[in-house]
Amino acid sequence: MHRTRFFDHVILLFGVFIMLAPVVVAFMTSTHEAADIHRNGLSLTWGGHFAETYETVLTREGGFTGKVTGFNMMMNSMVLGLGFAVGKIVLSMLAAYAIVYFRFPLAAFFFWIIFTTLLLPLEVRILPSYEVMNTLRLTNTYTGLIVPLLASATGTFYFRQFFKSVPDELLEAARIDGAGPFKFFIDVLVPLSRTMMAAIFIIMFVYGWNQYLWPTLMTTDEGFFTLVRGIKQILLVWVGSNIPDYNEALALAILAMLPPVMIVVIFQRWFIKGLTESDK
């Protein structure tokens, strides 16, 4: 018995090493100078240039137009992450409320209209979606960045499942007290859904922050670049130079992963709850 326990820990620790090491190495390497990295390769030691590199990356005006800073990109990522998460929660709670708590003609039809969107990811219709954006003149706007990503019913599906598990007695009691649909929604359902909302918020923020393909297509104006989309620009610049700015590329990568990773680690319990409760 003791031996198996020991090997279990060995396997787990090896797993942890595989998951952790690349990012630790990336961070440590980002504190070295570019020439130093070019000479000695990736590093596991502290290079001592943390402050300079990260300050440069955050404040230096770079890109083709020489106007965008890492800080700008971070703000744009924040707008995308928050806007997407909030938008998703508002839209899906309202829609799920209508589907679960109302009796109306065509309810089944609307249900299927909404849930068909779960079948096809945005990636399979990127080109026509981009053309729609062009027609509506939404390229290089925050609206164009956020709203099309909302066209999927994942959130609605979670809230529908959750509302169905809410006891019927609550609505009966509320109606006896004379509560109408708005009052019931705001005073009973919203407070009751708080943990569910938190879980979905975390998942959706991470999803929004991490978007890549859509921002790449939607934004040609560097003022709208997000950090994750900026990764591509780093590489394009990187390919041509003599001694690539490995340190700055890695520093941007670390900055791009910091907020979502922190959120997942800190709100782990809600995050896992949201993921696993909403699977089917």
């Binding site: 787990l12 990336a26 390769g41 829609a95 109302f102 990636e123 609505l171 297509l217």
Partner: protein
């Protein structure tokens, strides 16, 4: 699940609540989807002077092209390998973490956080690890006489893409397998422990069948991940030089649509992908769910 016993009835309120979501879905889901299907039957003039109806010829061109079939083959192999390794490593770690009572939550935290890293960011870190000059994995492989050249050698690039894609997906599978395992009642485990002394056999005959719903769900999720979400990893790793590098079907849609300006061809490819995803989903709901025993 049955509908609520009591419901509101109002002539317009439910439509008001549904309106925002429906509006967005119509404009950004149905409109482009229908457009994709429509333009897959047309040959678009590159200068924007209208389009000619060409029937199925975009489809036959795509399906006859040896380049497309090569990419389809790579996509199938890539998807199979990524799914297999991400699932099996995730399951292994979950089983071990489930067996270890103390340290369970520490392992959980340490193993799931990579989930939050965006695919292109993972791709960038992967690029560094597989870099010709500074990459430790390249150095390690040289030890064994393997000279890895990511971006130049087709096989090596594919290898690096698979490693990074698996790495990124392990945490997701780990979370689901672990919560699936922890959902198995203690009484079942005890009964299994009495009936079956060998841990490995117990796992195969008792635990794994109970995990089947989770595993099948994850199978579909992982296939979808490998098909679509690896776009960022691939885009970063091939650095816009798709010609000699392995790419997946989604990447080809993007290349033909945005670089090649081949609207009809790209749309036909989109529709083929839609059909693949649709079949996968139906497969999940119909075939698999019927065979898997819940409870």
């Amino acid at each position: 699940m049955a509908a609520k016993r009591v419901q509101f009835s109002s002539p317009f309120l439910p439509y008001l609540f549904l309106a925002p979501q429906l509006a967005i879905i119509f404009v950004f889901f149905y409109w482009p989807s229908i457009q994709a299907i429509q333009s897959s039957f047309y040959l678009e003039d590159p200068f924007g002077f209208g389009a000619t109806f060409v029937g199925m010829s975009n489809y036959t061109d795509v399906l006859k092209s040896s380049e497309y079939l090569g990419i389809a083959r790579f996509t199938a192999i890539f998807t199979a390998l990524v799914t297999f390794f991400a699932l099996s490593i995730g399951l292994l770690l979950a089983v071990k973490a489930d067996g270890v009572i103390r340290g369970n939550s520490a392992y959980k935290t340490l193993l799931i956080w990579v989930y939050a890293i965006a695919p292109p960011v993972a791709g960038l870190i992967g690029m560094m690890f597989f870099d010709q000059h500074i990459g430790p994995i390249v150095e390690l492989a040289r030890w064994f006489g393997w000279d890895i050249k990511v971006g130049l050698d087709y096989f090596d690039t594919a290898f690096a893409m698979i490693v990074v894609s698996v790495w990124k997906q392990i945490p997701y599978n780990f979370i689901f397998f672990l919560s699936g395992l922890q959902g198995i009642p203690v009484s079942v485990r005890e009964a299994a422990a009495i009936d079956c002394r060998s841990g490995l056999r117990r796992f195969w005959t008792v635990i794994l069948p109970l995990l089947a719903p989770t595993a099948f769900f994850l199978l579909i999720i992982n296939v979808t991940y490998a098909l679509f979400d690896t776009f960022g990893i691939i885009d970063v790793m091939v650095k816009d030089k798709a010609a000699n590098n392995p790419i997946t079907l989604v990447y080809k849609v993007y290349m033909d649509g945005f670089r090649g300006n081949d609207l009809g061809g790209s749309s036909a490819q989109s529709v083929i992908l839609m059909i693949i995803v649709f079949v996968l989903t139906v497969f999940q709901f119909r075939l698999i769910e019927r065979r898997v025993h819940y409870n």
